[in-house]
Symmetry: C2
Subunit: 560 residues, 2 copies
Amino acid sequence: MKIALAQINPTVGDLAGNAARIIDFAESAAREGADLVVYPELCVTGYPPLDLLESDAFIDAAARTMEHIARQVPESVGIILGCPLRNPSPIGKRLINAAVLFEGGLEVGRVTKVLLPTYDVFDEYRYFEAGTTGPPINFRGLRLGLHVCEDMWNNEEQADYHLYAANPIDELAAQGIDLYVNISASPFSHGKHRRRCEILEEICHEHGKPFVLVNQVGANTEVIFDGDSRVHNADGTLAVCAPSFSEGLVLWDTQAPTSMCTKTHDRIADMHDALVLGIRDYVQKTGAFEKALIGLSGGIDSAVTAALAVEALGPDCVDGVTMPSRFSSTGSVDDSRSLAENLGMTIHEIGIAPAVESFEQMLEPLFKGTSFGVAEENIQARSRGVTLMAISNKFGHLLLTTGNKSELSVGYATLYGDMSGGLAVLADVFKEDVYALARYVNQRADREIIPRATLEKPPSAELRPDQLDSDSLPPYGVLDDILERYVERLQDVDVIEAETGYERSVILRILRMVDRNEYKRRQAPPGLRVSAKAFGMGRRLPIVMNPTHRSIPVTPEESA
Amino acid sequence: MKIALAQINPTVGDLAGNAARIIDFAESAAREGADLVVYPELCVTGYPPLDLLESDAFIDAAARTMEHIARQVPESVGIILGCPLRNPSPIGKRLINAAVLFEGGLEVGRVTKVLLPTYDVFDEYRYFEAGTTGPPINFRGLRLGLHVCEDMWNNEEQADYHLYAANPIDELAAQGIDLYVNISASPFSHGKHRRRCEILEEICHEHGKPFVLVNQVGANTEVIFDGDSRVHNADGTLAVCAPSFSEGLVLWDTQAPTSMCTKTHDRIADMHDALVLGIRDYVQKTGAFEKALIGLSGGIDSAVTAALAVEALGPDCVDGVTMPSRFSSTGSVDDSRSLAENLGMTIHEIGIAPAVESFEQMLEPLFKGTSFGVAEENIQARSRGVTLMAISNKFGHLLLTTGNKSELSVGYATLYGDMSGGLAVLADVFKEDVYALARYVNQRADREIIPRATLEKPPSAELRPDQLDSDSLPPYGVLDDILERYVERLQDVDVIEAETGYERSVILRILRMVDRNEYKRRQAPPGLRVSAKAFGMGRRLPIVMNPTHRSIPVTPEESA
């Protein structure tokens, strides 16, 4: 039997568009002789549909769309679709997260997702009632171990601990299956690809059955899906594999097991491709923008953002603006011009002095007797923000923000200033990785895209004379390490101190900066997620809080 | 036996401060002869602690704090505390949401929350594993039916449908109890008070037992808790009741049942009190601001925001700024001055013309040949935003935004302009209710606080000549009705059209405006929640989406 892995890029909510795409893939698969076409989790609605799932009208329309698709695909193929459906039970959440098998326009099998991820960016128990592991589904003589995404992840070898009592993989094996079929919407984060491979290999080794996994590809607001759909043979080897970060239709013949070479992955290259996809899908799926717009400072963050945007949209669809102030180095304009030239994109120059001077004059009566400080620094950043947003509003450009995760963590950014924009490209990339991305961009092009001066100058916000990031922050290597431990691994001061030996006062100061700047992040534009713990919907902290827990003494018994 | 209802206002994360408060209440209760002091749900950490719960250091410190409290309270009282604790089972979420009874410094009883709200602003299954209904807990001869918040809400009479299979109230009754004890962190929304009363009366009628409910009071970021802790007698009548919107310690003697008059509630008065508490707690709990700052436009929204802020903080702690432009009516300054005078607050005047002209001049080369439009309107709103934020940064004032829910719904607000600020006071109040609040403010003061001119003038953003809200929006009565149905009740166009008879094209236009402006709301400051469905953490929608479901045809079978 020939199984087609239909790795599609759906748009959330776009039932009509997703249906057309699904039917199109089914037709291609049928032409190639497929018996069965498998699509990703919730492919009808796109993932994550979030609170669209609370609309009765949306749920009804999704069900109608699914039936419509089933009637439109070629008779020769069965299709497995993911779709939210009403919970048939009168008790529990109103919906289930279902995988449905259709043949000849009729539903011939259905399973309900058993394990509902409700952590990080996932809120599935907000909407769905959990099912129990379904019986194998017979299709043209094969018993399919059909299940949905998270259902494959409760593996003893992989999990730190058991989040769930059920183990659908084991339960399906116990019922007798010929192969596993998993439909997923499993987001990209660097390193996750390896874990996914390992868990698949282990399942194959343990149960001796082939494993078909079809994952969504594409970006929906902040969450990026890498695709990487695949079939592992019963011995765990990789049989076939769809591309990462783009759509693909891959066929696998159950009768003719193949073994292809393993895919190689590089952390920075993956991050690059994920961010490019994130920008492109934001622009294409909203359909609201002709171009992207970027404020170019001459620094590394805006340079990398511009390079990614040009890769995503082409040089004609990215405009830069350099906006020198009285504190800007000559490099800020020159290096921005070099970058724009290297990328083949347009750059405008608009000095912000007139606006800054006007604000200072307007505020003079109130500010008399005070000295230059954060208020004045922010007026500069915000004058740039107003300028960029005016261009964005006038010409319908998408303003991209350029701040990285290190800065966003410690609040080293101006709300309504450089934080203005529709999409925060580097919000989940620590500063040291921004440099690595810059080097990768140049290496990939085999020429200087990011100017050497930009790569080599010490980071500065240039909001007062001779300002350097290192005046108020530890070196980025140390800062990024502390931040990664606190923000991503949720370590606190004691553990960080014990494991790194950094000075406690430095660690504490950084942790407090992170806590105190939650209010800024709450108002940040959505940021593209490339780590397992990004700011945004996957990290939910109070703004009003007083984290005194670090001052609660550890009792002698506990520290013993 | 004397039971004290300790309705405290904890600060999220402030273990040290919350402990001091809890001990203080226990000492007062002991002096009044209490046997048992009952505190709200998660009183040790404050509610909602959100992702602080994912920090091991925080969880350990919370447990230590709970033990510390137990050792410090007077020996004569037992105490019931709410605290997150580690899940003793190796399977499932890492934590449980517990209610723990201490006597003489020792834990003598513990129950685990059974029903975990995971909808709207609640994310409990993100953190907690559900328990099973605990056995009654014996305390000084009484069998307490102890349970936590949501555990009392799965009532057949109240629920539209059964969200949960378990019913702790019935299960406790079946095990034999003398009275119910519920510890809650049950947020305020207008109308909820009545539902809470009804469900308590029904439980008492059904099971014939008294009911003690202790609810948190205070605001934590956007969520406001009204307190309203209470004891209902076995016959359902109200025995004692703590205040709404402020802390209180109320004693109830099980031996001497009392019957007090019922509390009366007025929707607008409650909303007023909730918003005042929300402002006050934001300022006091962050401890970061000396004053609040408000841009005064002469319109109804900024006037009501100012009145609420003055009520919350006092006139000396609220400054207003009027910022006329070339399009401002004379009323915008005069009415703002009258308001400030009525409220006894300071007002500054800063004309924004210099900044606006500077931006226009800076952008002239780029904008040449284009006509005045949204870009130019937004430059005005953003010049005001920069001015206000400069004052906020310079003097450490909390900038309050003034936009209401109607405007925020349809995107009738400028991102980084009038949406700039730390707290959105009226973000969950529709325009018609803003007027009702204004009338209530004047009626309550028995004099003109909100100037009559402000109450009577037609709403306008004054961003171009002779602009009126009604130019581009239906009358607020119609608009608010459509919005309430779509945003709060999740109705879609078919239902709204059928129930109201409004023109379909008008409804569709409003719905599309709401959808399209999700990107603005994502970057809005937190808004005080007073309805059952506010924007913010309780409503999670994709920005990148294409809601084509309204164009999916309804099949003949379905419409039949």
